[in-house]
């Protein structure tokens, strides 16, 4: 399934900036960065739970937030891209 992850991490402190880069890095492990704090990840249920848990461990719930949008398996009709920085489709042939 495709999960869209967005986050807001407070960067007022050095500690916050560190969390921000950790959260970004963790999301990148699971999917592609489509916009600055927006990631698309194709995961199964187990991977999704693990990812959620790992992200929860990273953030500070007082100041930061995470949002997960589950777009299911048939996500292709639900996503449209306009403008620069187009993404790749992880499930179509990957030839470089």
């Amino acid at each position: 399934m495709l999960v869209l992850i967005t986050y807001d991490v407070s960067t007022k402190s050095a500690e916050g900036r560190r969390r921000l880069s950790q959260v970004a890095k963790k999301c990148l492990d699971y999917g592609q960065r489509v916009q600055n704090s927006v990631f698309e990840c194709i995961v199964d249920t187990t991977q999704f739970r693990r990812l959620k848990f790992e992200l929860e461990e990273l953030i500070d719930e007082e100041t930061d937030s995470l949002r997960f949008y589950n777009l299911g398996d048939k996500y292709k009709t639900k996503v449209e891209h306009i403008g620069a920085k187009s993404s790749y489709d992880m499930e179509s042939p990957l030839i470089i």
Partner: protein
């Protein structure tokens, strides 16, 4: 059934593949050409000497992602395997069967049965779909001969006799294979199989499709814990993945031959994409090769009902499901190995 994951093909020369976090990163000089999470991949195939970092090799081995190196023309060079997987009891039983000629023959004949059955139905399907464009009596005759071969195979318990039956069935099938090419006939024709090197366009396509298939089959066998190098019909030879070749027998026709035919008949490729070297070898150019790989990957996504498991799976999982069934037979859970019988 497991999910079919994607395969990454790297055909751009002078690239370097490395690991970054959980991602595979493809670089050329300073540019990043791609970055993909490893958990979405089933295999990585590189054509033409791409460099790979040891860290990535390790990660691929650990996650059983097949990492294969091929030359630009698709000749196999090497593959990276990690610790052997699965269960030693299963592998030892596989060796015992392989050592006993008669027991080998009992498994091998099912591979051949599958091969002949599938060849027959490729022809039968063609007569149904293109009744007006084919020489029906000729094809029906071959189809009848294949049915006869199948009857013979049922009772064979000797490998050499089996090879004989298989050989004559293959000759029959090849004799009408050219008829199945319906488009671009002046550029694409089949006057018999040649390889190393392939001497015409169709043979070049077939060789390439077989390489892709053998990679898929080999990974499938390894992922269920079988030894791809110890075969039943194909005997041991250093460096030859005999079991993969065995299992390919039943899949060549339905998987690779039909794929090649559809590339030609749907005009997805044309003769401009092929060139001949001084020694007569026919080679595909880069764009055609990409087109073929793309078609191959799309074919793998198509869904079918597996005739034995009666379950809806993608074509790409057929080698895996057959490997699984073979492992079950070797383990003693099935009385016979059920070949993939497509209709």
């Amino acid at each position: 059934m497991k999910k079919l994951l994607n395969t990454l093909f790297v055909t751009t020369p002078d690239t370097y593949l490395s690991l970054d976090g959980e991602n595979i990163v493809i670089r050329r000089e300073e540019n990043i050409l791609g970055r993909y999470p490893l958990h979405n991949l089933e295999a990585v195939c590189t054509f033409g000497y791409a460099g790979v970092s040891p860290a990535l090799m390790g990660s691929c081995a650990e996650r059983s992602i097949g990492l294969t190196f091929m030359t630009r023309n698709g000749r196999f060079l090497a593959r990276v395997t990690g610790e052997s997987r699965g269960n030693v009891v299963l592998r030892k039983e596989q060796y015992r069967i392989s050592d006993a000629e008669r027991r080998s023959a009992l498994v091998a004949r099912n591979f051949i049965l599958g091969k002949i059955y599938n060849a027959k139905w490729i022809l039968e399907r063609a007569t149904r779909d293109y009744a007006l464009r084919l020489d029906i009596p000729r094809i029906k005759k071959v189809s009848a001969a294949l049915s006869e071969s199948m009857n013979l195979v049922h009772s064979v318990e000797d490998l050499d006799i089996l090879r004989g039956v298989e050989g004559s069935a293959a000759v029959q099938y090849n004799s009408v294979f050219d008829d199945l090419i319906l488009q671009q006939k002046e550029d694409f024709f089949f006057h018999g199989r040649n390889k190393r090197p392939p001497l015409d366009n169709v043979n070049a396509l077939l060789s390439f499709a077989y390489t892709l298939l053998s990679n898929d089959v080999r990974s499938a066998l390894e992922s269920v814990g079988l030894d791809a190098y110890v075969g039943f019909l194909h005997r041991d030879r250093p460096g030859r993945a005999s079991l993969a070749l065995d299992m390919m027998e039943e899949l060549r026709g339905v998987y690779a031959d039909r794929f090649v035919l559809s590339l030609i008949n749907k005009k997805l490729i044309n003769s401009k994409g092929f060139y001949r070297k001084e020694n007569g070898a026919v080679i595909m150019d880069d764009d055609t090769r990409k087109q073929v790989i793309k078609g191959w990957q799309e074919r793998k996504q198509e869904k079918i009902i597996h005739p034995y498991l009666n379950e809806k799976i993608s074509w790409g999982l057929v080698p895996y499901s057959q490997a699984l069934l073979l492992a079950r037979y070797i383990r003693g859970d099935l009385d016979e190995y059920p070949p993939f019988l497509w209709k």
